[in-house]
Symmetry: C2
Subunit: 451 residues, 2 copies
């Protein structure tokens, strides 16, 4: 038996029908040349033959009948038939149908009587590709580490006949990643076990955020996204060319992240305008961000920050909005550098645990939500990747909406592509896919203006 780390336990304790606490991913693959009708069935059978499991893939909460779950137990016999599924899309097999299907899968709670993960192969896409929807509980793994883990099952060799299974990857292939848990998670755990209580960490995080918030000339307004949520989800995904974004970046002297945030801001503004619900004050995003570019040396080795960013949703002009976003992230980074090491670490922890922000003691008493939306950009691989000869076409991260954060935007780069994964509460955002069109419009507007 193993006690569950306090930050991880949060995700089990806070989970409910309305708040599934798993992270997901939707990957699209192009089958290899000459793959027959039995390709996927045989692929799955190859995977199922691997009965070696890393501890993460055997873990389930030790007690489940009523009592809080504070310990992990290891499942002796993992029922792989349950965890690795096949399904198919009804005709005609459109992307919209795939997203309907992924949305349903992303809405369902994981079974706590079993290890907290599932893989679903989906066939029947009209274009001949297949999809892999995967989900893991956030108590086991954070979103960034989950993306990394999925990537590690892939290879750069299109002809490789060795098929890796996510549950049996070699340990620590690179020094900076742990087994299924990111280095930052490890740091937080160390800090935590070194005597710093979760509450103290939370307090430090709050202080860090409040200090950032002071640099903003306003508090985050309440929007239609900042409401209690239901249990059903809508997922929406789309890929944009990195070249387009880089051209805007170049023409405006900003960063890729700035352009992505300005795109998101433009889309959110249009969505709210369409519903006559745009607040006068600009929306604020919580943005997990790498500090590497900034040549930062004062953060005790932590290279990831959680920044508050003014999205400038009150501004109609796209270039002016981009300028506000860019300046806001720059200011927030400066504040970040002034934080203590513990504060830095704790605030960074928000990236791993968006939920923590909502549980921070005292945050409720701030009255207004400290931010309106979480927008994450997770760096991805630059080279083409394969699994069992199938080429990875896209990999969309699907994260966790929360009470008060009814929509989440997470994106990841992938070769020349930026893959956006949006997840929303189905009741609050029945037409989440509209945000995709608005994202495109916002990028086009930036291109026009920067030209």
């Amino acid at each position: 038996m193993e006690f569950i780390a306090p930050l991880d336990a949060l995700f089990l304790l806070a989970e409910s029908r309305e708040h599934p606490m798993h992270v997901g991913s939707l990957q699209l693959f192009e089958p290899p040349e000459g793959a027959g009708p039995n390709y996927l069935r045989e692929f799955r059978e190859t995977l199922l033959a691997d009965k070696n499991f890393r501890p993460t893939f055997r873990k389930r909460p030790a007690t489940w009948l009523g009592a809080p779950q504070l310990a992990w137990t290891q499942d002796g016999e993992v029922d792989l038939d349950y965890h690795v599924r096949r399904s198919a899309l009804p005709a005609p097999g459109s992307m919209a149908q795939l997203l309907d299907h992924a949305s349903t899968l992303h809405s369902a709670l994981l079974d706590r009587h079993r290890p907290l993960w599932e893989l679903h192969f989906v066939e029947g896409l009209a274009d001949g590709r297949f999809a892999l929807y995967s989900k893991m509980h956030h108590a086991l793994i954070d979103g960034v580490s989950a993306q990394r883990l999925l990537r590690r099952t892939l290879t750069t060799d299109p002809c490789s006949t060795e098929v890796s299974t996510p549950w049996n990857l070699p340990r620590k292939p690179r020094p900076e990643t742990g087994s299924g848990r990111s280095r930052l998670g490890g740091l937080l755990e160390n800090l935590s076990s070194a005597g710093t209580s979760t509450t103290a960490l939370m307090k430090a995080a709050r202080a860090g955020l409040v200090q950032q918030q002071l640099t903003l000339p306003f508090e985050a307004p309440r929007t239609l996204f900042n409401v209690p949520i239901g249990g059903a989800r809508k997922c929406a995904v789309r890929t944009w060319s990195m070249d387009r974004i880089k051209q805007v970046k170049k023409a405006t002297g900003t960063t890729v992240n700035d352009v992505v945030l300005a795109m998101s801001a433009g889309a959110l503004r249009a969505y709210l305008l369409e519903r006559d619900a745009l607040p006068d004050k600009p929306m604020v995003a919580l943005v997990p961000m790498s500090l590497r570019e900034a040549d930062d040396t004062d953060t005790q080795g932590v290279k990831i920050a959680a920044l508050l960013c003014n999205l400038g949703t009150d501004i109609a002009d796209p270039l002016e909005r981009l300028r506000v976003v860019s300046e806001s992230t720059r200011t927030s980074k400066e504040v970040y550098r002034s934080l203590t090491a513990t504060q830095t670490l704790a605030v960074a922890g928000l990236m791993l645990s968006p939920l923590a922000a909502l549980l921070l003691p005292g945050f409720a008493s701030l009255g207004l939500p400290p931010f309106n939306i979480i927008i994450s950009n997770v760096p991805g691989p630059s080279e083409p990747l394969y699994w069992n000869g199938a080429r990875l076409d896209a990999g969309y991260p699907l994260s966790i909406p929360l009470d008060g954060q009814a929509v989440n935007i997470t994106l990841t780069s992938h070769g020349d592509s930026l893959d956006f994964g949006l997840v929303g509460c189905r009741r609050t955002l029945p037409d989440l896919h509209r945000l995709l069109d608005h994202l495109e419009d916002a990028l086009a507007a930036l291109e026009d203006a920067a030209d």
Copy 2:
């Protein structure tokens, strides 16, 4: 706002991840001649055009955040896109894959933020048929009424172009059925509202059952089926020819129900023997049963009883087992006739609410489970039925396993067929489908012996 009747509220209060409280059905349809590839899509769209909802299909629990749900509210806008789904089977589209799919659907909890029902059209069966998996919460409707409701959407006219929707059926087509709730349910509610408390009803039911139990020379033994259960389900279904069963009945001078119970008993015996887990004492089934055949006039109009039946699982000889089953049901019916009107009514209520049996005050103190399994035989239609030109081939009821009742057998007649629907806890009965083979073997053994 409408208060939830006590018996119905039970099903909401007792529901958990481990104990979904919905009844399901898996229907198989043969599409009409010349149905094109868009048949199902258009069928669904025709259904979705009907925006008139009976109250049952608008109801959802009024409070859901933590507090017990004691009132219904009506959903103003039903999100039909959510409630009526399409999905497909992966290749090759076998019945086993359909059952995998139905098992997953039957394992998922209904979303309490919405009216408590779902319909799933499933395509991709290799034989060209399609399936409809439907589920409704037991707080809305009992299993028998749900089967009846689904049947009422069908017509005997294969060419009818009028497509009924389950959510907009005309009220009370026959005097003895209410809107989505059986006459017996109505009686219980009347009794309840007339001042008889739920507790008093439960006590009466218990007394009635104990009186029946006294006629059995033993108490129900504990078997591997009588354990706490998890949330995942396995479903298994198969159709048997009614002719085969009637021939055994005729040759042995028993009833169809007796033969079905003896088949089930033989299957359970074989399943337990295979696992070296057959108890010395015979298993006891709770059997909801019509008393009409018995020419009973003393039951105040209630024609349905919940009988305890000795399954004779300790007996190797199939004919001897059938004889024991037959005698046991006859004795139980006699006891039933001696019960008071309130007891009759209350015990009958168990058919609608198998859960109630487990919540009966004092039952736990009886030490051993009062019965090992619930086996229900729901009478069905004798003529061929159609929906939008598609012929109903089979309709399998899928009921609710409970703590201590890890498997449920429900069957329904349908023309010359008997459709068996088995639902088990996936963890307890990973090989539930073996019971189907044992059912066939048990019937064959009865045929051989009776020949």
